[in-house]
Assembly symmetry: C2
Homo-oligomer: 315 residues x 2
């Protein structure tokens, strides 16, 4: 069942002791550049460097004592893996993370550093799911899906709740969309809190399955997409798709060049580190494919995990 505003409010209370209340930044150069008044909700400054920590924390701290004792598990090589491992550690429970054996060393170390117990598998979806099933069989741990999970969606919605508390008169909120956890949680919080607010999803042109899903009225799976925005390669889920269908005004795609330019501009002017996936939300304004001029636009900067040794604007 789709979470509602009450679920998001409860999630906010539940995760409050664990998360950072991230700042909302403004930047005059950016405003001038895109012709709108931007409010950056900095989830790149969240713990583990991503909004994912909100959803993972809400899931972990929603478990019954009996469930909690057996721990949590997931398969992921991204920010959700780190987020779940840290949330579990803060909850004093075990976490089991299934990772493809070709995951970058820095990601393995990060998960292990937060106390996640890693099981490696072949880098195919089938191997990941089979391995996860074995882990569940052995441990009895609760699977926490990175986005197709009510508790996770409600948790992700808490960022928009905070943003609208600080800037109640936003006209528009933009988030990036991959699996749709952030976008669906945001759309519930925003549309329930403020009648008429517009919620827009930013998606890489090169991984435009959400746009196509909305157009065709059914989930179109993402097939081997390639984009710098590597957090946005998943397909929508059975829970997130209908929420987005109902509450999101439109999905706007952003080119790879637009992603890089937006990312670099934010680094240069706002002095914060955002990952390509977060830049996609800025890209919606940057490329001016839709007219948001003069409006108050909230942007949820989803994360800041990048490899500082190779930046996309460097040869």
């Amino acid at each position: 069942m789709s979470p509602n505003l009450k679920d998001i409010r409860e999630a906010a209370q539940r995760v409050k002791p664990y998360i950072h209340r991230t700042p909302v930044l403004t930047n005059e150069s950016l405003d001038k550049q895109v012709g709108a008044q931007i409010f950056l909700k900095c989830e790149n400054l969240q713990k583990v460097g991503a909004f994912k920590f909100r959803g993972a924390s809400n899931a972990v701290f929603s478990l019954s004592d009996k469930e909690a004792a057996r721990g949590v598990c997931t398969h992921s090589s991204g920010n959700h893996a780190q987020a779940l491992a840290l949330a579990a550690r803060l909850g004093g429970i075990p976490s089991y993370i299934v990772m493809p054996n070709n995951a970058p060393l820095v990601k393995k170390n990060a998960v292990a550093g937060y106390g996640g117990q890693i099981t490696f598998c072949e880098p195919t979806l089938e191997a990941r799911e089979t391995t996860l099933a074995k882990v569940v069989e052995k441990t009895g741990a609760t699977v926490i899906h990175p986005y197709n999970d009510e508790r996770v969606i409600a948790g992700q919605g808490t960022a928009a709740l905070e943003l609208l508390e600080e800037v109640p008169d936003l006209d528009v909120i933009i988030t990036p969309v991959g699996g749709g956890g952030l976008l669906s949680g945001t759309s519930i919080a925003a549309t329930e809190l403020k009648k008429g607010i517009r919620v827009i999803g930013g998606e890489p042109e090169m991984a435009d399955d959400a746009l196509r899903s909305i157009k065709e009225g059914k989930i179109i799976p993402s097939v081997n997409p390639k984009s710098l925005a590597d957090g946005l390669l998943s397909s929508l889920g059975t829970l997130t798709f209908p929420i987005i269908q109902q509450r999101v005004e439109q999905i706007v795609t952003v080119s790879e060049v637009g992603i890089i330019e937006s990312m670099k501009y934010v680094w240069e002017r706002a002095k914060i580190i955002i990952e390509p996936s977060a830049a996609v939300a800025i890209g919606v304004l940057w490329e001016k494919k839709i007219d948001l001029s003069g409006l108050k636009v909230g942007i949820i900067l989803s994360g800041g995990n990048v490899d500082l040794e190779k930046l996309p604007w460097q040869k």
Copy 2:
């Protein structure tokens, strides 16, 4: 005359409509790494990307109407030039900036972008001062020195005022020291607000004139220093030196390697962009030359202006 706490409080009121109230961030990884509880006052997120905007704004908005009408001027190729140009623009008055003709294009563009009227000169101190004198003669503009100016020092002290409002029980505050404007303003605010608080200046080993000045009891000019921390190459001023002498516990030097490592760690973990000069304050903890273990340490991150095309940890 040395500014006092009242001057800093007045400065805070004066600049409030113009500056960002910058966030104070915490980071558990950093705390573990250095063994203290760190509070990062993010002046890298200040307008023009540096605390300098506080001092420049206080100077501009302290002028009489008659003075203001004639504008302000300075010679600088750094953050102060941009800060003064923007403050003047916000005050609706002209600014005249003398810059060496070999200043990087990006800095010239930044100053011009904020409306500063640039006069170029040969890249020597003598040429800068002669040229500035000519500008003053012609325009009647008020010279705003980057640090040896009471209004500037009081303005810089407002960052510590905000930090101590949010975290009143700090044991220590660390700032970088170049000309000493930030360190002296901080030391006045901190020691007046909280008896027994320790104020420490971080300085590059390769530009250790403040350390030597304190040791010898007189201003030892910086002679052709070379450090990545290019905001910290100035000598102390006749106003800043005695304040630092009186109120700062000690100056701690940081190696170039320590500067780079601290800078990269903050980028990676805190997801914010700091310039090498700001990293020097972190470097004091990073290199553990003094024991601050277990203490609550406020750090003023002075700025975030870096060239994203060439980062110091890249070959």
